[in-house]
Symmetry: C2
DNA sequence: TAAAATTGAACAATCGATTGTGTAAATAGG
DNA sequence: CCTATTTACACAATCGATTGTTCAATTTTA
């Protein structure tokens, strides 16, 4: 028989006092409310004895705070996002917050729905890796004074806090690295996207090429988290463009698929094709030869994200100014150069 | 200015009717409650117009249902778990449920805490990859009629639904595969754990060896999700045991670390050492040479887990019997054999 | 046409907390 | 000794829903 959960009234009744008093005691307002030390002790003792836990739903309903943070990533099964999610989760729990997460798959409509669900649930704060087209929804959140921190990309038209990396320079730098090694026909394989990070990566890539009078070879794929929809277009691209001698993958997901294709086609790295990818991963480190990658500081990103959000959740900090933090990546150079 | 959210009373007032009526209409009980079609229409129209959304906290408080499922995995940044989490998440959303997830890191105390938090939040159902020592907590959940589905491992002493794979046979089979290729000194590198899946893997491994009159070489590591605490013990193990000619990694996490060590030490696969790992991953597929892996049917696992849980959440199905589903793995054989 | 049945909707309790206001008893002040 | 404070709590409203019960108005029945 499911023993009914105790409520604050049960505690109050058992001690013949008012639930008001119990509430004050449990919320550490005993001193302020001049409740005798003796009574405080009796209450705490009983609470511990019977294992009473306040109903957080009721609490949230009354206070308007849920102690939940909504986390929206592109795809939780992507190692880049899942490792950040884990770090954020840890810090959140440490600070008494729980995480509700979900994957947007870069789908605008789904994301709008999800933001709606989070609002329903009265989450206290939002951490979002935003897809395109949700400017209005985010603005609405801000209008209602709900803390929002974006990461990985940002919405140029919305004044929010965000944590990103210097994508433009990172791409520029990686491209220069390849150029420095003597590669001339360097392709960028990326997703078609107006998201800031993708745009910046493409920009940095193009700038480096322009500086060296090389011409860009840009291949944009339709976003899809399912590898099977990426393998085919990548294959036909690599088959067609035999002229390219180096390739930059725009994300770790593209990179992993790209490597599979390269292996399938029997292309050898780096003699046939040099490879650099955005986002580091075990796959690159363990690949033979190991793959040079633009490594994002996931730990730092996660820490900055959650620190920023917690500071905005802290009522003490009334007018925290908008933070835009740009972190630096590291080009993890691996393998030997071609020439 | 944060426009206050509308409540059901606001809707009722604007139409000069009672909130009771609004509630009935919104819950599709208009017919049953004999509310005129005309009024129903007016209410729905206004609700849509002003974008009213019921407060789900209040609803949960009243009904006792939260429409939230608690998902506890070992480590959300582990691709095995994150890919399952994603699939579960998708199916849950489709069915009107949201997911709160967290990572247990196989820590008993943390897990107990987390279960407590989930209970606080009145989650409707629990999906757990259980660490050791939480038998009592899970029993308590069951006693209170809360649906629980375990996966990846189970608790032999607790009668719950669970979804696992045939770990014993999978390990047996993988070991036989190595033996069939002529390897004699086959090590199993695994975590020290009483969890069912780890026990079964070790058992299957030992049975295969015994059958062939070979002796087991078992190395048990202390569980740790941080690679740096695994690299060192694996390194010294491989340095010491030059005699082993094949190794089975007990999890993908160990496998990834193991491969790093193997690369560092300059051991070549499979001439110096043949490798098979539990849990498939991109790392194994892309490694040179590709690594044979025991591939778990993540999609099937996720589907069975969520289907089982949803059926228990469905009040129609009063006495659903306990399900214990054992799925089959596939040995993805890769690379060439040694001899 | 009066009583019975049905229709259409409202009242008020409830879920389990928080919190502004109130008040009896104890203590202090003059 | 009588009044003013202070101490130590309790009452009751509130958060935003759901739901068992009630009830007036209308329609049907006899």
């Amino acid at each position: 028989m499911p023993q009914k959960r105790l409520s604050i009234v049960d505690i109050a009744n058992q001690l013949n006092i008012s639930k008001t008093t119990v509430s004050f005691i449990l919320n550490g307002r005993a001193q302020e409310k001049r409740i005798s030390a003796e009574l405080v002790e009796r209450v705490l003792k009983l609470v511990k004895e019977v294992g009473y836990k306040p109903n957080s739903l009721a609490k949230s309903l009354r206070t308007g705070k849920s102690n939940i943070i909504g986390l929206m990533v592109e795809d939780i099964s992507n190692p880049f996002f899942s490792s950040i999610a884990r770090l954020i989760e840890d810090r959140a729990y440490e600070n008494g917050y729980k995480i509700i997460y979900c994957s947007t798959y870069n789908n605008t409509e789904k994301t709008k729905d999800l933001i709606g669900m989070f609002r329903d649930r009265h989450v206290d704060g939002y951490i979002i890796a935003p897809p395109e087209g949700i400017e209005d929804d985010v603005s609405d959140l801000l209008k209602d004074n709900l803390p929002v921190v974006l990461f990985d990309r940002y919405l140029p038209l919305v004044d929010t806090d965000y944590i990103i990396v210097n994508n433009l320079f990172s791409a520029y730098n990686a491209t220069q690295h390849l150029i420095g090694q003597g590669y001339k026909n360097i392709a960028l394989l990326t997703f078609f996207s107006n998201q800031s990070q993708m745009q910046d990566r493409a920009k940095g890539y193009k700038m480096a090429l322009k500086e060296n009078n090389l011409k860009p070879i840009l291949k944009e794929l339709t976003f899809n988290q399912n590898p099977k929809y990426l393998v085919e277009p990548i294959t036909s691209f690599l088959r067609k463009r035999k002229d390219i001698d180096a390739i930059i993958f725009g994300t770790n997901h593209i990179g992993t698929c790209g490597l599979k294709v390269i292996n399938n086609l029997g292309i050898s790295i780096p003699s046939d094709l040099a490879v650099v990818s955005f986002d580091d991963s075990d796959v690159y480190e363990l690949h033979s030869p190991p793959i040079t990658a633009i490594s994002q500081p996931t730990e730092e990103i996660a820490n900055n994200v959650i620190t920023t959000l917690l500071s905005k959740l802290n009522p003490a900090a009334e007018n925290v100014k908008t933070h835009a933090i740009t972190l630096h990546t590291e080009l993890a150079i691996r393998g030997s150069s071609k020439k």
